[in-house]
């Protein structure tokens, strides 16, 4: 099965909604499984990305771990795809961007209503938050974008079938939505 197209997927600062929408291709997943195999992905639980043909990135870049994962994907994937609103413009997590990080942390962990044992989490295993949530194209080169919150299953299917057929992927008007 060495000739199968290898796809890696991950969610950075996302909600996995784009992954769920990807799964909404329903029985097409069987057709897909005949020609592709999954590398690092929540579907496989592989921890690190190895050489892949297509990398699908959901979510924006919120913390230091997201930066490492994104760079690992860029390094290992021939084609990197920003999937969904958060990867493209930061999305809902980026709505914190005009609030200073310290205020966000204080509100969540120290001063918020009902907070007990108030303290800012500082376990060394926790990735550090970035000052802002960044769209992925501000950190790495992105080859294609699939807008939507989430992109519909039809968007995934059209895009992947185009790529697998060796065509330049394109989305017709009725598949382009930002909501």
């Amino acid at each position: 099965m060495a000739n199968k197209i290898r796809i890696a997927t991950t969610s950075l600062g996302g909600c996995f909604g784009c992954h769920m929408s990807f799964l909404d291709i329903d029985e097409h997943i069987l057709e897909l499984a005949e020609v592709v195999e999954f590398d690092r992905s929540p579907f496989t639980d592989i921890e690190h990305c190895s050489n892949s043909d297509i990398g699908l990135i959901e979510g924006g870049v919120c913390n230091s771990e997201n930066v490492h994962v994104l760079r690992e994907f860029r390094k290992n994937c021939k084609i990197l795809v920003a999937v969904g609103a958060c990867a493209i413009n930061g999305g809902l997590p980026a709505m914190r961007n005009h609030i200073p990080l310290e205020e966000c942390l204080n509100e969540s962990y120290r001063d918020g209503i009902g907070v007990e044992n108030a303290q800012i989490p500082n376990d060394p295993e926790l990735p550090l938050l970035l000052d802002k949530v960044y769209p992925i194209h501000e950190l790495v080169k992105v080859d294609y974008y699939l807008p939507g919150c989430p992109p519909s299953a039809d968007v995934f299917w059209k895009f992947l079938t185009d790529l697998i057929a060796g065509q330049e992927p394109s989305l017709p008007y009725d598949l382009v939505h930002y909501d």
Binding site: E138, Y173, V176
Partner: protein, 239 residues
């Protein structure tokens, strides 16, 4: 014989005093635009309607139609420029469509759809803009304002009031409200005013109406803005 201009190889009649965009709309030719509305004095600020007139870029909404003009409109080059302009509008404000009530009915979004804009290309400003929820019926979310000036014009030219103005220049430009406190509740706007309904984006919203029509059933979920715009604006021009 009526006078004509030529747009993308097609002869289009015009009457003296018409702008290029008016003649084009009359003839069923769509020129992308956001700040233009046939009911109001042209503003010429969004630059989406930029067309090439005899080799030079001009705003179709302000430039008068004149005999012998050779105009390029629907070309790859101009549409690429229009896409870049739209991307700049998206990164300058905070346009998070999934959390905006206007999604699906938003002209900025619809223009972006029609230009097949799939990303925002530029670094985002994530500018810190305010929300004015002071008025009982009307909400202003400055995050989504694109400074098209339509609310300013509608308030002055239709409502006979002077509720809005644009203040400052460049990145410091903002929509201001004509009241002592600067808040909408202290202005003389009313929910029936044209100015409260003309915003092409989700910057001025009528409260408690946002989800009467569900997402997916909205204007631009079903139709392209070129068709919607031509149908509407032909009527406005009395055709």
């Amino acid at each position: 014989m009526s006078k004509t201009i030529n747009i993308d190889g097609k002869d289009i009649p015009f009457t003296e005093g018409q702008t290029i965009i008016e003649a084009a709309t009359d003839a069923g030719v769509y020129v992308p635009h956001l700040c233009h509305n046939p009911d109001y004095t042209p503003h010429g600020s969004c630059k989406l309607c930029t067309v090439k007139v005899n080799g030079r870029n001009c705003s179709a909404c302000t430039f008068p139609a004149m005999e012998g003009q050779e105009i390029m409109n629907n070309t790859q080059e101009l549409n690429n420029d229009r896409q870049k302009i739209t991307q700049m509008l998206f990164v300058e404000g905070n346009h998070f469509c999934p959390s905006c009530e206007k999604t699906g009915n938003c002209e900025l979004q619809a223009v972006a759809y029609s230009l097949n804009m799939l990303d925002n290309h530029f670094p985002h400003f994530f500018s810190n803009r305010e929300l004015d929820a002071s008025h009982p019926d009307i909400l202003i979310d400055h995050n989504r304002c694109i400074f098209c000036n339509l609310c300013v014009r509608a308030s002055q030219e239709t409502d006979g009031k002077n509720v809005f103005a644009l203040s400052g220049r460049g990145i410091n430009k903002k929509l201001i409200i004509n009241s002592a406190s600067g808040q909408l509740k202290d202005s003389n706007i009313s929910v029936q005013d044209k100015a409260a309904h003309i915003c092409p984006t989700g910057a001025i919203l009528i409260k408690r109406t946002g989800y009467f029509v569900p997402i997916g059933e909205r204007i631009y979920d079903k139709q392209r803005i070129d068709q919607v715009s031509l149908n509407k604006e032909k009527k406005q021009l009395g055709k």
